[in-house]
């Protein structure tokens, strides 16, 4: 049997079983089915690794049926497992398995337990659809599907209307991006007459397409990517998406779904590589996002919000990498980020679980002793994301910085600043949560507890991965050859990636700077939050206030887009539809009434008048006939 059927089918099966029968099955069975489905997909993907890794860029294809046939354009339900998609599949199913396992405990008291697992499985299915599709349509299916699952999972606790709003916001912002993607697809159809990756990319690589067309297509696709990967200007949904259960945040809003935009760009490498203008835009959008989100992250007090802005910022890093043409690097960062961000979110979830749904870091502190495992793994995650030497994040971030350095010095400086901010806000989070005094008066310190084993086990696995993940693409200065991931993806790219020829001295300087950033950030955070033991105030003023309120972007959007739209809606309905158009159309009624009233005067019942009218009419008719005949 084709492995793709199994990889896709298992999560789908899990979804159907859990969705239909879930409320009749015991929770442990539901959890087991959900986890096993994803684990099964993971195992099958692993088993097929060897086939894919054949030197001649082997892919496994699966054509199911024709979805639509319009004239010559044939849209198929077809999948392919190649080097890129198996990589993504492994990340998705691997981390997905851990998070499923974790969720069994985390969600065990929730009445919607089976629903949760059904949604999660469905999400995995859609995400796999996204990465396994062999044409843009399949990707779009997955693309929208994960958005839908994200909507369902953010609004999982549906009784809370704020959560509902956050879910809607996420879905709608995603839809804005989707429109871009859809339009991009239409352009592709009109240009290449197909949506199949192989056809489209071969034609692009052949170089017959005009530059402006490529730029237009790539820009539209990038709009889609900004929606899904929370870049400026469509990033505000992601922090709000933290309304969902924490495992969801870890899986969807950190490790997998938000990286779909990067997957898309890497998948269309040949397209993006040929549109320099788009690359430049991507670079600066990514950079802006990275810096801005890092700044906002400095002032957030909700443990998940900090991580959310951190995610936005890290996604910005990835786009910067894409903008410089370092596709492998971006994917590398996707991978390592998936490890440590999932770890951090799950750690945060563990903290929240242990503190009985307290999320405000001002009400935490000193949890180190109570939650040793969580503390340790969280620290590893923090170190990894901050770029502690030789941990996974160090390598991937350093590669990005190097790539940017070669590309544009200003961008490099800004990105370094962003990396510094990353270290600061991560350690701020870490110190405030695990060090210092316990500060919650509503929940006794004694009641704080470590999480059960099936929650800490994923933490430990992810911690290990965060440490060693860098090995996936070791830099040339350590191994004197290109990294593993670079070589792995090499056959996939129709246009070879540029390899940064950089002399070793410069490289060592850059590494030194990276280390220096880490140390500086660490020291600043330590100084403020450990030595001075500062506790963030409720409200900040000035710059702090600006950051705490996220640059007022939400308010700005509300004022500029939402409110005017609502007002327009009311105006259109009440005034335009209700009054003006109606007056135009039904204004004829009073006119008819007036004519009727005049007519009534004529029709006064007087026979002589009628006779006179008749005679006049006869004269007129005959006269007209005489004159014109």
């Amino acid at each position: 049997m084709n492995p793709i059927i199994l990889i896709l089918g298992l999560p789908l099966l899990g979804f159907i079983i859990n969705g239909v029968l879930g409320n009749k099955l015991p929770k442990i069975v539901v959890g087991a089915i959900g986890t096993a489905a994803v684990l099964g997909a993971f195992v099958i993907a692993i088993l097929n690794w060897s086939i894919i890794s054949q030197p001649e860029n082997n892919t496994i294809n699966l054509d199911l049926f024709t979805f639509l046939q319009i004239d010559q354009l044939s849209l198929k339900v077809a999948f392919q497992l190649d080097r890129l998609s198996i990589w993504m599949t492994l990340i998705i199913t691997g981390i997905g398995t851990l998070i499923h396992l974790y969720s069994i405990s985390y969600m065990k008291e929730d009445e919607g337990f089976y629903k949760f697992f059904a949604y999660l499985n469905f999400f995995i299915f859609n995400m796999l659809l996204l990465v396994l599709g062999s044409n843009f349509l399949m990707m779009f299916f997955g693309w929208e599907g994960v958005g839908l699952c994200s909507y369902l999972l953010i609004g999982f606790w549906y009784k809370n209307e704020d959560y509902g709003k956050a879910a809607r916001k996420a879905f709608i912002m995603n839809r804005i991006g989707d429109l871009g993607l859809l339009l991009g697809m239409f352009l592709i159809i009109s240009q290449f007459g197909s949506l199949d990756y192989s056809v489209v990319f071969t034609q692009i690589a052949a170089g017959n397409t005009s530059n402006s067309m490529l730029t237009a297509i790539s820009l539209l696709l990038f709009v889609g990517a900004t929606g899904k990967s929370a870049q400026i200007p469509l990033f505000t949904w992601l922090p709000d998406a933290m309304a969902g259960p924490t495992p969801v945040s870890a899986l969807i809003h950190a490790a997998t779904m938000v990286t779909a935009g990067i997957y898309l760009t890497v998948r269309c490498q040949v397209l993006f590589a040929l549109s320099p203008l788009t690359n430049e835009i991507i670079l600066w959008v990514g950079l802006g996002t990275a810096v801005m989100a890092a700044l906002v992250g400095l002032k957030q007090n909700d443990i998940k919000k900090v991580l959310a802005y951190s995610t936005v910022s890290q996604l910005g890093f990835m786009f910067v990498a894409l903008g410089t043409g370092a596709y492998t690097t971006a994917l590398f960062h996707v991978t390592t980020h998936a490890f440590f961000k999932a770890l951090l979110f799950l750690g945060a979830g563990s903290v929240i679980h242990g503190m009985h749904h307290e999320q405000d870091i001002r009400h935490m502190g000193g949890l180190k002793s109570k939650m040793p495992l969580t503390h340790l793994t969280f620290l590893i995650g923090t170190l990894a994301i901050s770029g502690f030497p030789l941990l996974s994040g160090f390598f991937s971030k350093d590669e990005i910085l190097t790539a940017v350095f070669m590309h544009n010095k200003v961008a490099y400086a800004l990105l370094v600043g962003s990396a510094l901010l990353t270290t600061i806000y991560m350690f701020r989070l870490y110190f405030l949560t695990f060090h210092g005094q316990y500060r919650n008066h509503h929940y006794a310190f004694e009641k704080v507890h470590e999480s059960p084993i099936n929650m800490t086990l994923p933490l430990m696995v992810l911690a290990v991965l965060s440490i060693v993940g860098g090995a996936l693409n070791l830099p040339a200065y350590l191994t004197h050859s290109e990294g593993f991931l670079f070589n792995w993806l090499k056959p996939l790219f129709m246009i070879p990636q540029s390899i940064h020829e950089i002399d070793h001295s410069t490289e060592y300087v850059l590494i030194g700077i990276a280390v220096l950033i880490f140390v500086t950030g660490f020291l600043i955070a330590r100084n403020i939050f450990v030595t001075k033991a500062t506790i963030p105030a409720e409200t900040s003023t000035g710059l702090g206030g600006l950051l705490q309120n996220k640059f007022y972007v939400d308010e700005f959007y509300h004022k500029v887009f939402v409110r005017p739209l609502e007002i327009t809606s009311s105006i259109l309905h009440d005034l335009f539809d209700g009054l003006i158009l109606r007056a135009f159309t039904f204004g004829i009624f009073p006119l008819l009434k007036l004519i009727g009233r005049l007519n009534k005067k004529v029709q006064n019942g007087n026979l002589e008048m009628y006779l006179l009218y008749m005679v006049i009419a006869i004269v007129l008719l005959l006269g007209v006939n005489l004159i014109f005949a």
Partner: protein, 196 residues
């Protein structure tokens, strides 16, 4: 204005036409129009009726001129005889022989004259335009009862019978209308009040 007679002579003036008209036609037309005018202008309805009878007599004379002898007789019998007597009878019955009609305003008179005049002009203009100007060809025996009876009983049999039905229904209608209604007393009061 230029029209040909049957000899192809172009006649250019109305005067010459009129001068060549037969005296009988002129006299009869004169009587007809004058009496018709009297019908519409006389204040007394009885005078109107008498003038109308005179008109019908002159029209009958016209019929004779037109070789429609039977028609002339019938016209005298039906119109001048039966119908006009009926009118007179009703006038007597309702006692309307006197000057009872309220005079209409001048405005109405002007309006009516203009309207009638307009019709006259338009019709004349229409006939002018149609350009019919050929002399009637004399023919014998068409208007005699023998010929008419044959046509009436062959070609026009169905309309003939139908007109019989029409007469019956008119008769029944007239009788029904003329019958005094039981409720009419109230109606009289009502209308009197209204008009008072």
């Amino acid at each position: 204005m230029y029209r040909k007679d049957k000899f192809g002579i172009i006649k250019t003036s109305k005067m010459s036409e009129i001068s060549s008209l037969p005296l009988q036609f002129l006299i009869l037309s004169f009587i007809t129009i004058l009496s018709a005018l009297y019908v519409v202008t006389s204040k007394n309805p009885v005078h109107s009726v008498l003038a109308l009878i005179l008109t019908f007599f002159s029209i009958s004379a016209h019929y004779i001129l037109l070789n429609a002898q039977f028609l002339a007789i019938v016209n005298l019998m039906v119109y001048a005889g039966a119908i006009m007597v009926l009118f007179l009878f009703v006038l007597m019955l309702l006692n309307l022989s006197k000057e009872s009609e309220p005079i209409k305003s001048n405005l109405w008179g002007i309006a009516a004259s203009i309207a009638a005049g307009m019709v006259l002009i338009t019709l004349t203009a229409a006939f002018q335009k149609s350009g019919i100007a050929v002399m009637p060809a004399p023919s014998e025996g068409i208007g005699l009862v023998k010929n008419l009876g044959r046509v009436l009983m062959t070609e026009y049999l169905v309309p003939f019978e139908l007109s019989g039905i029409l007469f019956i229904s008119a008769m029944v209608g007239a009788v029904l209308l003329g019958k005094r209604d039981k409720n009419s007393e109230e109606l009289v009061d009502l209308n009197n009040n209204n008009n008072a």
